[in-house]
């Protein structure tokens, strides 16, 4: 039941010298190359973001952040994530539950469709929505007649974000739930638990760390999405600008300090995501370890 191996967690501390291992020199060389790449392409840009943001002092940095348009974009981004993540949470759990635990018609189609947002360029997802809800689109005239704004308004942004972040949670959960099988749920049912009780007491605790992991990734993408949102938002300052779009606008206006100051917010989000993600992973392994002793 607990044979799942998290890759290489146990043996590292006391690794036996294997005949198949590489010579020391090669090992250090490979590790060195990897470290160099990480430094060059990840750490250096990261440092550059903060260096630029604070290049004219902390006061200017603060001022840039406290700009009304920046605050509005922050508000919009947070709201979008607050809608998209719970929606995808519900969808992701429902989809992976049904894919992992039931047989039904159209299952393979659903499995394939979940990957669609990964397969298609975000710009195209945005354009599809414009085509659909835009003034010259299929639903556009009807929506206009009923005074419902989707394109170049908040609902469109939320829709595009939901679409783009749609696979994250489901993809995290499906393999996990498939590996766990249905026996524990069946046992719970045979012991008299209802469907909801079974979900809350058996299924959910078994997937909680995987779920948290998926939520974190989903949230990072929801706040950081550029392409799809860019097409659909219309870039109305203070109204339909999300944080990534706002960064672009500031940058295009040669307001480098402002652009990097706002960008630093996204960078901080990325760092927090990494920390929480590592914590979730660590917690998950620790739990498994305790159980496996």
């Amino acid at each position: 039941m607990f044979q799942r191996k998290s890759p290489g967690t146990w043996q590292t501390a006391n690794r036996p010298v294997l005949a198949t291992t590489e010579p020391t020199l090669i090992r250090y060389l490979l590790a060195g190359v990897a470290m160099l790449f990480v430094t060059l392409f990840l750490l250096a840009p990261l440092a550059a973001v903060f260096a630029q943001a604070f290049s004219e002092g902390i006061a200017v940095y603060w001022a840039a952040l406290r700009d009304a348009d920046t605050l509005a974009s922050l508000h919009l981004t947070l709201m979008t994530a607050a809608i998209a993540v719970p929606l995808n949470l519900v969808f992701g759990v429902a989809a992976s539950w049904s894919i992992a635990k039931f047989e039904f018609l159209g299952k393979s189609l659903l499995t394939t469709l979940i990957d669609l947002p990964f397969a298609v360029s975000p710009v195209i997802s945005g354009i599809i929505y414009v085509l659909f809800f835009g003034l010259h689109g299929y639903l556009g005239p009807w929506l206009a007649a009923h005074n419902i704004e989707i394109i170049f308004a908040v609902p469109g942004i939320v829709l595009a974000t939901v679409f783009v972040t749609f696979p994250f949670i489901a993809r995290e959960l499906i393999p996990l739930m498939q590996a766990q099988g249905t026996e524990e749920e069946e046992a719970a049912l045979s012991l008299g638990a209802g469907g909801w009780q079974t979900f809350l007491r058996v299924t959910l605790p078994n997937i909680k760390w995987g779920l948290l992991y998926g939520v974190i990734l989903c949230n990072a993408r929801a706040m950081g999405e550029f392409g799809a949102v860019s097409v659909i938002s219309g870039h109305i300052r203070g109204l339909t600008n999300t944080v990534p779009l706002h960064v672009e606008i500031l940058y295009n206006e040669y307001n480098f300090v402002g652009a990097f100051a706002v960008a630093s917010l996204l960078t901080i989000l990325a760092l927090i995501t990494l920390v929480v993600k590592s914590f979730a992973e660590w917690k998950f392994k620790q739990e498994l370890h305790a159980i496996r002793m």
Partner: protein, 356 residues
């Protein structure tokens, strides 16, 4: 609490897993469903529990004469024990066993104290009280299965259903648990159905054995009946070891490989294909032909470990033959490898017709 399955048919896609199967289990009985993989025994058990439903419109399940065919598994109050234990991995042993009591609706739920007492009583019953605070992964396979049983018993089930409960355990643990289950059953006297593909397990544990094959029931009987009076060739072949001799029946004689014996059934005017099945212990070995019907063979391998001596021979006509002798008889004979001997059956069951 009796169990009755009436005319159960079940298809998975186009494949018929169960074909009009009926079964009655009396109150307090322990029954074993024994059959090869894919014979439908597990499906029948799952249909009794409600984890699986029979085909639309086919059959009925009755628990204590009450029709529960349309009742959800959670309302049937059956104790189900899974092959791979299915313990809740994130809960301690205590919480696993308490689960069935804690999920009851508030009005029917015992108090915390009552639950604690009940759980400890059950852990005592399965002799694992000291493991209450452990997690399932910290237990051995045998311990896990005992906990799974305690958990199933916590809801005071009307019937206990065990799906290959010892299938994932090593031989020694399996043997111990088998005996233990037998004792537990006589103590609790709860009507039980055990699914297994291990004939030894079925014969040792059950009051009655149900032999399943290809979606049908071949025979229902006490272990002694199915072993000594098999209803047909399949049962004889499946329960216990046999030597099979292929041949034909002509008139009242059966010509089976190297053997020629009298055919006790209806004489056949036209030659019919037939097979003779002989248990290894129903074959005797002699130094020379003794006037009885038999054949000569060469000793190829001797295994004297165990209560009986197992001897592999090769008949002169080419068939491999397995014989079991008592240690005493073996000592008298003093067989050596490569020796040519005479083999004769004490009892042979002849079955007519095409190969099944």
């Amino acid at each position: 609490m009796s169990i009755e399955a009436r005319h159960i048919t079940k298809h998975f896609g186009a494949f018929a897993v169960l074909k009009d199967v009926s079964l009655h289990v009396a109150t307090g009985e322990l029954i074993a469903l024994l059959g090869p993989s894919g014979s439908g025994k597990t499906t029948l058990l799952r249909i009794i529990s409600g984890l699986e439903v029979p085909d639309q419109g086919s059959g009925q399940i009755l628990l204590h004469d009450e029709d529960v065919t349309n009742r959800h598994v959670s309302m049937r109050r059956v104790g189900f024990v899974f092959q791979h234990y299915a313990l809740f991995r994130h809960m301690t042993v205590f919480k696993n066993v308490a689960f069935g009591l804690q999920v009851r609706p508030r009005k029917l739920r015992p108090t915390k104290r009552q639950i604690r007492e009940k759980v400890h009583e059950l852990l005592k019953l399965v002799q694992l009280e000291w493991l209450a605070e452990r997690y399932p992964a910290q237990l051995s396979g045998g311990q896990r299965q005992r906990i799974a049983l305690a958990r199933a018993l916590a809801i005071e089930p009307k019937v206990l259903l065990l799906d290959e409960p010892f299938g994932a355990l090593d031989a020694k643990t399996r043997q111990e648990l088998r005996r233990w289950l037998r004792r537990l059953h006589s103590e609790l006297n709860v009507t039980s159905v055990l699914v297994t593909h291990d004939q030894e397990e079925a014969l040792e544990v059950a009051d009655r054995v149900v032999i399943t094959n290809a979606g049908r029931i071949e025979q229902v009987g006490t272990p002694e009946e199915v072993f000594h009076h098999p209803a047909n060739e399949f049962v004889m072949n499946f329960v216990g070891h046999v030597n099979v001799f292929h041949g034909r029946v002509e008139g009242d004689r059966a010509f089976l490989g190297p053997l020629e014996v009298e055919y006790s059934g209806q004489p056949q005017t036209i030659a019919q294909p037939a097979r003779g099945l002989v248990r290894p212990y129903d074959l005797d070995i002699d130094r020379q032909a003794n006037g009885k019907s038999g054949f000569s063979a060469t000793v190829q391998h001797v295994n004297a470990a165990g209560p009986h001596v197992k001897i592999d021979l090769l008949a002169d006509s080419g068939e491999p033959v397995h014989v079991e002798l008592t240690q005493e008889r073996f000592r008298t004979l003093r067989l050596t490898l490569g020796e040519s001997v005479f083999v004769c059956p004490r009892e042979i069951n002849v079955f007519l017709g095409g190969q099944r």
